[in-house]
């Protein structure tokens, strides 16, 4: 459907300006433009200046102009001479970028389409769908007798389409599991690919000797070249299946790493065999030279990549004042690394991957949160566009090219690809297993073998084969067959199969502090035990590297060189998450505009309905977040006070200060320690029984007090609050959860735990609506609900029962402003007190104040 749209557009365009352009050339150009499209997309990726020189694509029927700005001054005089046209069109000028855009849009629409029907993508991999769409478009083109567009040239592919794909997988490689399994990954990637290429190549060569098939003219070199091409596995589809069923980490990372590095190996082999295929005679010396070259190319690439990675990390150290261009550095450096590697003829894939791996860790700490998001999104976007286009194009080409169909050769290719892959996995696992701490069992091996889908890279490689290879047509056909076979049959069947044989699984989303702490604990323990045994293993090396990293690398590469433990990082992350959740819910309740496209917009949406929040400083997200966390903190502190320490402003101040000190000691190396009064140690956590026994009675009595009072204060409002209670409790839910994380170090711990336990469980586990119902029968919780409804519901009930609320707010505001003044300076500036955060902050105060009102 979308494809039709594209065509229609083209037709209308042609119709209007009524040139003599033939249908043929139009589509041909469209295809050309596809090429340029990729170039365009890569522009942010490459360096600005040089990219203007676009490599000459073959064909040359269209003068390819880079999409430069129109030269206004020149166009005007011409136009003026001939009676100033009212309406002009210059399709030729915009044709190239225009048609490219259409192609990309078409592919993107297809992607949207797949995800509309969610069930489809669960069972059918996306690549299948893309190829199918491509096939449909191809069929349409074929029916109007189009020629196959010659889109992907070797240069375009290697310089513009491949880097985004590789950068994508390199950047998102899970680092820890990768380094834990690096040996196996490399083993499968390098030796496995060699095994496959040589095995398939040799067997195909043997097949070629059979006269019946009529392919005796394919020599050994060409067979090897072809085999190298089709031994590049591309298990994107498999990986997403693995992720969904959360297959065990070891298997996942080996498949992931294998696909990444075997691309590198394949490209090296491809170039080598390409060279060899043109040589008339191959001497034994050449074999050794080939091996030597293989090593140079591989290790050279790695070295370059690491070098560029460090330079990139070092650069981002100084980008603090130019946040806007931060992401650019990442793309520039990776692309530069890629180009330099191409320049020296070393493995550019290896380079860009190791560059991404090296810099990721440091860069992400240096750049701002927003830049980090940008980087990730852009990398993902570029990668997926590149891949989408290749798959899409594969579909088109399948229909539109002339195929050379040779049953024997193609069927045997399929068979050998399958057999050698299976054999390779079996044999290589047997060899590597004794060296692995956790050996692969048969099920893992099945997953590994069956996950060997062929994909975009194979197709692009075979399509860009030089024309002097006699049987190029046959190779293209065979590769397309093998890709379609593996992607469709294996890709669709792997999910049921993996689920059926029940491969060992890992629970991958364990984001609790306890788990993080214990992971670290185990790492250190194991490293210690290894030291005790006097054995070197990867924990030993990891330990050594981490120490080196903390002592030297971080100091050089990271602006704020304080080493950050993963536990602290997680702790921060969870806190952030909670703060965001609260913001999301609150803003959703207020503005009814819960679209959470970007963090930034999300932050901005709350102020719109209420003017007062504009006073708050919205400059950067970090500030906002920390402030919001602050409000929450204060709010919970007020809660705490209400329940645990009634009528003691002093203790409140101490609590607030304590929060501040924690916050700052988390952020920077806490100079605040001195400011915190000694007595806060006392308040910090009362694990002992004495404190425990001391607080509850007070709390109880006070709570009862307050309940009766507030009941008097709002005889009628209770019922009114009960209805909005649902929304308010939703807003409140995350608050509870945050409590578990942030409120701890205060006096409230005992209190909190009991509250958590008694009323709430953990906030996440309860459904939203239940909170109000469940608590009604209990006497005390009612108060609780009351106050929290006030807390969460501020703005929304402000809308609902406006007048009454406004009154109260007026009363409340003057009364609540004194406390901030009395608090420590870092608590909050009073301006923020009246913002949207207001419900979080001040509302809990006013049950306190209201009782005194009547």
């Amino acid at each position: 459907m979308t494809s039709l749209r594209g065509h229609r557009l083209q037709h209308t365009g042609r119709g209007i300006f009524s040139t003599t352009m033939e249908c043929f050339t139009s589509v041909k150009r469209a295809a050309f433009l596809l090429t340029i499209c990729t170039i365009l997309l890569c522009v942010p990726h490459g360096s600005n200046g040089e990219i203007q020189v676009i490599p000459p694509t073959e064909g040359g029927s269209v003068t390819i102009l880079p999409p430069v700005k129109p030269e206004g001054p020149q166009a005007f005089p011409d136009a003026e001479k001939a009676n100033l046209p009212v309406f002009t069109m210059d399709y030729n000028r915009i044709q190239i970028p225009f048609e490219i855009t259409l192609w990309v849009l078409l592919a993107s629409f297809a992607k949207i389409g797949f995800h509309v029907y969610h069930k489809i993508t669960v069972w059918v991999p996306e690549s299948c769908l893309l190829i199918s769409i491509g096939l449909i478009v191809g069929a349409i083109m074929h029916s109007v007798h189009e020629e196959p567009p010659a889109v992907i040239s070797s240069n375009v592919f290697f310089l513009y389409m491949l880097p985004p794909i590789v950068l994508d997988s390199g950047y998102f490689m899970p680092t820890r599991p990768f380094f834990e399994n690096i040996g196996t990954v490399m083993w499968f990637a390098v030796v496995g690919t060699l095994w496959n290429s040589i095995g398939i190549g040799m067997s195909l060569y043997a097949i070629c000797q059979i006269e019946a098939f009529g392919v005796q003219d394919i020599n050994l070199q060409e067979n090897l070249l072809f085999a190298a091409i089709i031994s590049a596995v591309d298990p994107v589809a498999v990986l997403s299946v693995f992720e969904d069923v959360s297959v065990n980490e070891q298997l996942y990372i080996v498949v992931f790493g294998e696909c990444l590095f075997n691309d590198a190996v394949t490209v090296v082999l491809y170039n080598m065999f390409n060279f060899v295929a043109e040589m008339p005679v191959v001497e034994p010396v050449d074999v050794f030279l080939g091996v030597a070259r293989f090593c140079v190319v591989g290790f050279g690439g790695m070295g370059f990549g690491i070098l560029f990675g460090f330079v990139a990390a070092f650069t981002t150290r100084f980008t603090g004042n130019v946040r806007e261009i931060e992401p650019l550095f990442i793309f520039m450096y990776s692309y530069l690394a890629y180009l330099v590697a191409e320049l020296f003829g070393i493995s550019s894939i290896m380079t860009i991957v190791s560059c991404a791996l090296t810099m990721k860790y440091y860069v992400e700490e240096n750049v701002s949160q927003r830049s980090c998001t940008t980087i990730r999104h852009v990398i993902k976007m570029l990668g997926s566009i590149s891949e989408t286009l290749i798959f899409f194009f594969l579909g088109v080409v399948t229909i539109t090219t002339e195929h050379e169909w040779n049953w024997g050769y193609i069927m045997f290719t399929l068979l050998f690809a399958f057999v050698w892959r299976g054999l390779g996995v079996l044999v290589l696992t047997q060899i590597i297993n004794p060296f692995r701490t956790i050996p692969f069992n048969m099920k893992d091996q099945f997953g590994l073998g069956y996950g060997g889908l062929r994909g975009a890279i194979s197709f692009a490689l075979v399509f860009t084969l030089p024309d002097n290879i006699g049987r190029k047509q046959l190779f293209v056909t065979a590769t397309i067959v093998i890709i379609i076979f593996t992607v469709f049959i294996q890709g669709i069947s792997i999910r049921p199969l993996i689920e059926f044989i029940n491969v060992r699984r890992t629970n991958r989303n364990l984001d609790t502090i306890n788990v993080e702490i214990h992971c670290r604990l185990m790492d250190h323990t194991v490293a210690g035990i290894e030291d005790l045994c006097g054995q070197w293993s990867h924990y030993f090396w990891k330990d050594k590297f981490m120490r080196f990293n903390d002592k030297i690398l971080r100091k050089i590469l990271i602006r704020d060189s304080r080493a950050e433990s993963s536990i602290v990082a997680l702790y921060k992350k969870l806190e952030l998450q909670n703060a965001m959740e609260i913001l999301d819910t609150v803003s959703g309740d207020i503005s009814k505009a819960p679209s959470i496209m970007s963090l930034h917009d999300d932050k901005k949406s709350p102020p719109k309905p209420r003017k007062r929040f504009l006073q708050a400083d919205l400059k950067n997200m970090h500030d906002i977040l920390s402030k919001n966390m602050y409000k929450i903190r204060q709010q919970t502190a007020v809660y705490t006070r209400k329940h645990a320490l009634p009528n003691e402003t002093q203790s409140k101040e101490i609590l607030i200060r304590r929060h501040a000190s924690i916050r700052r000691s988390l952020r920077s190396s806490g100079p605040s320690e001195g400011m915190v009064p000694k007595s806060q140690k006392y308040f910090s956590l009362p694990p002992g029984q004495n404190l425990d026994s001391q607080f509850p009675p007070k709390r109880l009595s006070h709570a009862d007090d307050e309940e009766t009072m507030s009941e008097m204060a709002y005889p009628s409002s209770r019922s009114r609050f009960a209805k909005p209670g649902r929304s308010s409790s939703r807003a409140m839910m995350p608050l509870r959860r945050l409590d578990t994380l942030t409120e701890v170090p205060t006096v409230a711990v005992v209190d909190e735990i009991s509250r958590l336990g008694g009323r709430r469980g953990d906030g996440a586990s309860r459904p939203n609506s239940s909170s109000s119902d469940s608590r009604v029968p209990l006497p005390r919780p009612r108060l609780h609900f009351q106050s929290s409804a006030d807390a969460g519901n501020g703005p929304s009930d402000n809308v609902r029962n406006g007048s009454r609320d406004a009154e109260e707010e007026e009363e409340q505001e003057p009364s609540s402003s004194p406390p901030p003044a009395a608090w420590s300076p870092e608590s909050m500036d009073p301006a923020n007190n009246s913002g949207v955060g207001n419900p979080l902050l001040t509302r809990p105060v006013w049950p306190k104040w209201n009782p005194k009102k009547p």
Partner: protein, 223 residues
């Protein structure tokens, strides 16, 4: 190689090794390797004392040094239902502690895996629970976290906060229906199991004990 050598020269020792192998699940080569290391650490005496272990230079930077060394002298890690600590350990005890770190085998049944997992968990739990009372109190937990993070100077306050947060997490996971006045005393072993339920202990907490003779590759550790 090592084992066969042993069987020829020291038949008695060989028999003892087999005995150890039965108890700990190590192979004879591994035991032989570990014994070499043991002799190295103990200055060729029969027992190891705390000082011996504390003098290992490679261990000096480990933030959990105290806990790790302590684990070796903890009777609870000897599979013998006893509590308390030992002053000096012999080779058998040494092996016993080490056996907690065996990787899972290919042919293990589910029950065996579960038992192994429990054993490893118990070891970790014992590292926390310094006073042998069967629960990890907040203080104990905090201490471990503080030590874990002593390498990076984020300050004790943060460590405390994190430990407390973690503790609360445990409480909220395990005791969702606690009364308002209840006080969560500490993590019991059951709760400990609960919070680490999803974690793949057996694939993380293991050391690959070498089968081959390491005497040729001196690691420069020990003395």
């Amino acid at each position: 190689m090592g084992a066969s050598q042993c069987s020829q020269t020291h038949p008695q020792k060989y028999k003892q090794y087999e005995d150890f192998a039965d108890r700990t699940g190590f192979s004879l080569e591994q035991i032989n390797n570990l014994h070499k290391r043991f002799r190295q650490l103990s200055d060729n005496t029969e027992t190891i004392s705390r000082e011996n272990l504390e003098n290992i230079p490679a261990l000096a930077n480990n933030p959990l040094r105290k806990q790790i060394i302590g684990a070796f002298f903890d009777k609870r890690n000897q599979h013998e239902e006893e509590v308390g600590s030992i002053q000096e350990i012999g080779f058998q005890q040494f092996l016993m502690v080490m056996s907690h770190f065996r990787p899972p085998g290919l042919k293990m049944t589910e029950e065996e895996k579960e038992a192994m997992r429990k054993e490893k968990l118990r070891f970790l739990f014992n590292m926390h629970d310094t006073d042998n009372d069967g629960t990890i109190t907040v203080d104990e937990y905090r201490k471990v976290v503080e030590e874990l993070m002593s390498n990076n100077d984020i300050g004790q306050e943060a460590a405390k906060a994190i430990a407390d947060a973690a503790m609360l997490e445990v409480a909220s996971i395990n005791m969702p229906h606690m009364g308002p006045d209840d006080f969560y005393e500490g993590i019991t072993f059951e709760h400990f199991e609960q919070i680490l339920k999803g974690l793949e202990m057996e694939s993380r907490m293991n050391v690959r004990f070498l089968d081959v003779d390491t005497s040729t590759m001196r690691c420069g550790k020990g003395k």
